[in-house]
């Protein structure tokens, strides 16, 4: 994770529609619809709902996300998460209990003879 110059929280009661861009870390406990473009770490908390295409360096999902995800380093889909969409990331982790439907694109190094 990059430097935590500041952490922004979108609280439970808040809904944001439109495009969200930023450099700091962001925690979503409320609702975001549209687009998210973040340089650092996005966390969707259990109460959080994001219906947006997401770009972030790192993404941690405990809540609900639908849309395409492009994470630079890592996308963690935790046990309580519910995710629909296509994911592109260097590392994707799906915990037991998470519900995910969509595609995942990581770099897979296969043996040469396959």
């Amino acid at each position: 994770m990059a430097t935590n110059d500041n952490i922004n929280i979108i609280g439970r009661g808040i809904t944001i529609r439109g495009s969200l861009t930023g450099a700091g870390d962001l925690v979503v406990e409320g609702r975001v619809e549209g687009q998210v473009n973040l340089k650092n770490h996005l966390t969707i908390e259990m109460s959080g709902v994001v219906e947006a295409d997401i770009r972030a360096d790192e993404l941690t999902i405990n809540g609900s996300a639908s849309g395409n995800i492009d994470a630079g380093t890592k996308c963690s889909i935790n046990q309580s998460a519910r995710v629909n969409g296509d994911i592109k990331a260097a590392r994707v982790v799906i915990e037991d209990g998470a519900v995910f439907n969509g595609s995942i694109e990581m770099d897979v190094k296969l043996p040469d003879d396959i």
Binding site: N78, R91, I94, V99, F100, I104, D107, V108, L110, P111
Partner: protein
């Protein structure tokens, strides 16, 4: 599920494909299968498929459970679960109600866990049918119906030995080796005192 090494000490009657063996064709069976070599074609099992780090499966696979530490190229349909361990590599589509991808695994393809499964947060872990290391979420089960009971059970014997504690909670599965990732709850006494849900949150944040 995660302790793949456990499975490698398979019983005498289960099937092992050794590292130098290549099977090409169609393989069906009603027992666990451990692949250390190579299987190409089609693979249908009513039990668990374990692909060890040296194993390569280039096949369309239909099983109950799959634990992948080696390589899979092909589509996997599992009636219970698919797990890609730290060393697992897979290209293909997965259809299974439970899919676990551990950090370090690599995967390219689609995942379909289905949406039919009703998912009230609280009930979900309890109704899950598949074997799992019981130590993973020891407090979750009792915490929901009887939040008061949970702390006592967890706190008392937990410190010396987490796995036996979990056993107390009536999980019949014999494979009770501790999962490496989630630490047992006792070190966080404050949170253990609360209902199970909070604890889950914290684990995520670490």
């Amino acid at each position: 599920m995660v302790a793949t090494k456990e499975f490698s000490t398979v019983g005498p009657d289960s099937t092992v494909i050794g590292p130098s063996i290549l099977i090409s064709g169609k393989l069906t069976g009603d027992e666990d299968l451990t692949v250390r070599g190579r299987v190409e074609g089609e693979l249908n099992l009513s039990k668990t498929l374990i692909i060890e780090t040296s194993g390569v499966v280039k096949a369309n696979v239909s099983v109950r459970n799959a634990i992948v530490s080696g390589v899979v190229v092909g589509n996997v349909v599992a009636t219970e679960s698919v797990e890609l361990t730290r060393e697992g590599r897979m290209v293909g589509d997965i259809r299974s109600p439970r899919v676990i991808i551990v950090d370090g695994a690599s995967f390219r393809g689609r995942i379909d866990m289905g949406n039919a499964e009703p998912r009230p947060q609280a009930e979900r872990p309890a109704t899950r049918p598949v074997v799992r290391p019981a130590a993973v979420r020891p407090a979750t089960l009792p915490a929901r119906p009887a939040p008061q009971a949970a702390p006592a059970r967890v706190m008392a014997p937990a410190k010396p030995q987490p796995p036996p504690v979990a056993r107390v909670e009536a999980r019949p599965e014999p494979r009770v080796e501790a999962k490496p990732a989630p630490p047992p709850p006792p070190p966080q006494p404050v949170l253990v005192g609360e209902a199970g849900k909070k604890k889950v949150l914290v684990k995520k944040k670490k």
